[in-house]
């Protein structure tokens, strides 16, 4: 297991992504900075529409118009991904960063055998056919599917097996960073647990980093080392997983924690968060959370808070903790 110190593997700096819509530009990601060190599992949590998947797609440069990256840098081993040409990207993608999407059924081509889809990526990156076939068997063993299922079509596999096959494809080139974009949301809890355990084991064995994107905070606390909470295109709080769970500071994080009933302990009334996530066409002024915030102050509607370092590795963007623009 690689220790999660030293220089960041991926360093996202002030990333901005805008969706151009008929009603005006939507700032889906507005100045997000995030870094992932080798061997680290970073969790990114937020509701739908908070911009977490957009970040993943921006890093891989798979965003297409009407989405536009309007600013920022994303350094991967000192090279800015956002500056790369299409040719460079072809070599870069999958070899360095791979992604597992939420719906394996949509990620796999229904009319191709799983084997061909696995080989496709390897042949593209210079494997010989024999070597690629050998690797395919190895990968299926790694993710816990019998290699004889390589010749199955996606519809012949169960949901969990399909997702494992997608993970095998993501591992094909042994990338140092894997992005998991809600990898288990469409699966049942038992399968979800199984697959995440498998990924955790693989990560210990192979030492890759993980950017884990989900809306399920309790899953994140269990699975990742550090967590960043996103709201309406901005990161509002970040900390080590345990610290965030034991000591959430931002009212949104507290509200999120309050949205998951527990299966153990005393049953207590949970309130969730009143209101709905904002329309990003015209986001609220100042702090974007202020219309829903139970601790709103006059300053919140006027000034956007900046991230403050509260303690080691714990940052929060909230006026309650003295953030001034």
């Amino acid at each position: 297991m690689n220790p999660p110190f030293n220089k960041p593997l991926l360093d996202i700096h002030e990333l901005k992504v805008v969706y151009l819509t008929a009603r005006g530009p939507v700032k889906a990601v507005d100045g997000v900075s995030l870094s992932i060190r080798p061997g680290e599992i970073v969790g990114l949590a937020g509701e739908s529409g908070s911009g977490k998947s957009t970040i993943a797609h921006a890093i891989l440069r798979v965003l297409h118009p009407p989405a536009l990256i309007t600013g920022g840098q994303a350094f991967f081993n000192d090279r800015d991904i956002l500056e790369m040409s299409e040719q460079e990207l072809e070599h870069f993608r999958w070899k360095n960063i791979s992604i597992v999407f939420q719906s394996a059924m949509n990620a796999l081509n229904p009319v191709m055998r799983v084997r061909d889809q696995l080989l496709d990526i390897m042949l593209q990156h210079g494997f010989t056919k024999a070597a690629a076939n050998e690797r395919a068997v190895q990968l299926f063993n790694l993710v816990g599917i019998e290699p004889k299922r390589l010749d199955a079509y996606p519809h012949q596999l169960s949901g969990g097996m399909r997702q494992r096959a997608v993970i095998a494809i993501a591992l094909a080139l042994d990338p140092p960073l894997m992005i998991l974009d809600e990898p288990t949301t469409a699966l049942d809890v038992v399968v979800q647990k199984d697959i995440l355990q498998q990924i955790a084991v693989l990560r210990e064995k192979l030492g890759f980093s993980i950017l884990f994107i989900t809306h399920d905070l309790s899953l994140l606390v269990e699975f990742s080392m550090s967590i960043a909470i996103m709201y309406a295109g901005e990161i509002v709080e970040r900390a080590m997983a345990r610290e965030l769970f034991d000591n959430p500071l931002h009212p949104y994080t507290v509200g999120l924690m309050n949205s998951f009933p527990s299966i153990s302990g005393k049953l207590q009334k949970l309130s969730g968060i009143p209101g709905s996530p904002p329309d990003l066409l015209s986001p609220p002024t100042g702090c974007r959370f202020h219309p829903r915030c139970p601790k709103v102050m006059p300053v919140c509607a006027q000034l956007a808070p900046v991230e403050q370092l509260i303690s080691k590795d714990h940052q929060v963007a909230c006026h309650l903790y003295g953030g001034r623009s």
């Binding site: 809890v189 199984d194 355990q197 309790s218 999120l256 309050n258 299966i263 968060i273």
Partner: protein, 333 residues
Amino acid sequence: MTGIANQNQDILEVRGMTKYFQIGPFFKTKLVHAVEDASFTVKQGQVLALVGESGSGKTTTIRLIARLIPVTRGDIYFESVDILNAEPGRASLVYRNKVQLIFQDPFSSLNAVHTIEHHLSRPLILHKKVTNRWELHERVCTLLERVDLNPAEDIASRYPHQLSGGQRQRVAIARSLAVEPKLILADEPISMLDVSIRMGILNLIEKLKTEQGISFVYITHDLASARYIGDQIIVMYAGHMVEGGDSEVILSQAVHPYTRLLLSAVPDPGAGLATQKNLGARGEVPSLIDPPPGCPFVARCPLVQTDCRRSMPERSEISPGHWVRCHHYADKE
């Protein structure tokens, strides 16, 4: 038979309800055993949570109760009336007046080209709950206020696309409330919603239960939310109801290996993922097409014994109200 309803009176009783779906070509039809021998009761003013993975037969169960699809075998007693014999064929307006459904997806359960007012007016007119149009409008606004949608006048004139997911689900609940039902069947009402607004919907269900004595059958795959609003929990696996009882009992003293597997799979931030031992059960949910006799969980069960492959065990009672269908506990009877 619709006497004065008080607490602890059974409003719905299901006995041996079974549903097979036919599939395949005419001479080679196969049967999908979607729900097998389901028996349970729902008490007045209580929430029964049906928990299970996708494909376990939860949705089929409530569609049978709502009488959207015909029952293959078994009886449904609603307010002590044998409803399948009293009303063969289609369910009567009276029955539909008392039993209502809420669907999982509030984005597709409302019609995009009609206003909210139209959606709420339909049941009121159909079930003759109002006599004139001023009363109608007033009732629509009252309904919206009952589900905490304010200002009601403004919401009523909007179209579904102008509302958020949580608001739409509240409209769907208001629509089911329009006919003053006794029982509401809620099919995963929060799973499509943003996490921060889910609790609001669950608390609304809780409020309707305690303040108006409406009973609910709440379907979910999430044991935590089942515990949160369920008075009773029944766990389903591959069409069978395998364990049931008071929700706190199920959460703390579950005995069926499948229930325990489910419980161990729920993320619990209190304990780390890597530190936890393996679940002890692998494999997949069996096919429901012409299944072999015996317990459906045999392929994954760590406690499997020879009886398990021969027959599905009967219910055995572990403690009052807590039952399980597992051969391992059959001898404790």
